[in-house]
């Protein structure tokens, strides 16, 4: 339960979603390809903020908390993201849709 009077961090929002996290990542990123990518659309499109830059400007990502929209896969200009749905039965489980 989260009141809407205040801003809600993405972590708070994701805590409202049921995940059955698979140990096997369903997203793999070839970050060497990201080094020469100037726009990095993944940083902007991911609704769960799973793509971030570390202090050295290197791309970091996490597949846990993925809402499985597929945006990073389609938006990536360098085909650096190997994206699949989580294995059957795993991943996000929406209750309202």
């Amino acid at each position: 339960m989260s009141s809407i009077e205040e801003k809600l961090s993405i972590e708070e929002r994701l805590s409202l979603v049921i995940f059955n996290v698979d140990e096997e990542p369903h997203i793999k990123v070839d970050t060497t390809k990201c080094e020469k990518c100037e726009i990095k659309p993944c940083l902007y499109v991911c609704p769960a903020n799973l793509y971030t830059l570390d202090e050295n400007g290197k791309l970091q990502f996490n597949y846990e908390g993925c809402l499985e929209c597929g945006s990073c896969r389609v938006a990536c200009p360098n085909k650096a993201i190997d994206w699949n749905h989580p294995r059957g039965g795993f991943g996000v489980q929406f209750r309202f849709g």
Binding site: P41, Y44, R73, V74, H85, G88, Q93, F96
Partner: protein
Amino acid sequence: MSEKFDVAIVGAGPSGLTAGYFLAKNGLDVVILEKGSVLGSKNIYGGRIYSHVLNRYFPEFKKEAPIERWVRKEQLYFMTKDSAVKLEFFADDGFLEESFTAHLTKFVQWLGKKAEDTGALIANGVRVDSLIIDNGNVKGVIAGEDKLEADYVIIAEGANTVLLDNLNLKPITRPEEVALGVKEVFRLDSEKINERFGVSDDEGVAALLVGYPSFGAIGGGFLYTMKNEITLGVVVRLDEPAREGIKMYDIVENFRMHPVIRRILKDSYMIEYSAHFVVERGKLPGKYLVGNGYLVVGAAAGFELNTGLVVRGVDFAIESGKIAADTILKAHEEGDNSKIALSKYLDALKESFVFRELEAFKKAPKFLSNKRIYNDYPELLNSFFRELLTVDGNPRRIYSTLRKVMKKRKLSLFRVMMDGLGAVRSI
């Protein structure tokens, strides 16, 4: 699973389940493979279903389906950071039964139950990884270690076409052909919803919101009232966030914090956060919809429509699922699963509202890519009303006020007329 089926369907959403329902009802052995462990748990949309197809194929739906509210009020907002102009349509007549709001997960569970009752087998928690392809003929599906043979395969995997893309069965999805929808669901007592929107218990509201919700990017906001929930979200064309430097999870929050939305959502709390693709291709899907042994239906086939005023998907999904089922039933009778036999699917689609409406609105995405719609016009409308309604002893007449605010936005009368003409020609 080593048994052979007549038909294997990839994905238990509205299109796959409709196809499965009609195929099983007519005696075929059908299996529907769904990656989610719970039916409907991976299905996401804005909040509204148009009922014309349900009247035709499932007339009992009014008594059975998990309908939240019948849409009675249609609203269009033009928003700036701190103001809004709202246009509302309300009619006290049969318009009441045109469309209804529903939680898609629950609607899919209802449709799934109907498909199962006719004898279709739904296998939950099964991710289809590939297809069995022999000499260019699709002969079944592959899920992990399991191979499952079928005479016909229906691909109903939804807008995020991982299977079709991986197998190179369709042109690669480009960012400008899809939009990302991010949605938040809020719990709010039905009495409060009724009071705030001026509706009674089973009456609902559907709203599209232009301008500030997408932060001026190509896209917009939406709002639907459920019985005890409000769904609120933003849809933005996928190539826009990086170009505009906006983060999707931020603009959804900014939208939610808008003074108009804050008042609507007061005392509510968020209960779900979700995201999904919306197809905005703007041209008729190509020949990839049919091959030897398979058909593509629903959002995977690109059957979604956004005219700027009307946003649809589920009715297209159901119609294409029904047409796919009819095509396969006929082909099965003749013992033919070739591409030629299945091409009758395309012929039937062309005769249906699916292609007729997509064709009629094929220029809509181009028109809707005019950024003035999301920046200048919401600002113009808001400053026009702000100026016009100001009383300070200086007379403000409509035409001179309009010219004044247009000049402020650096919009010429010619420009505005051309944009108006563009709207008339495309939507």
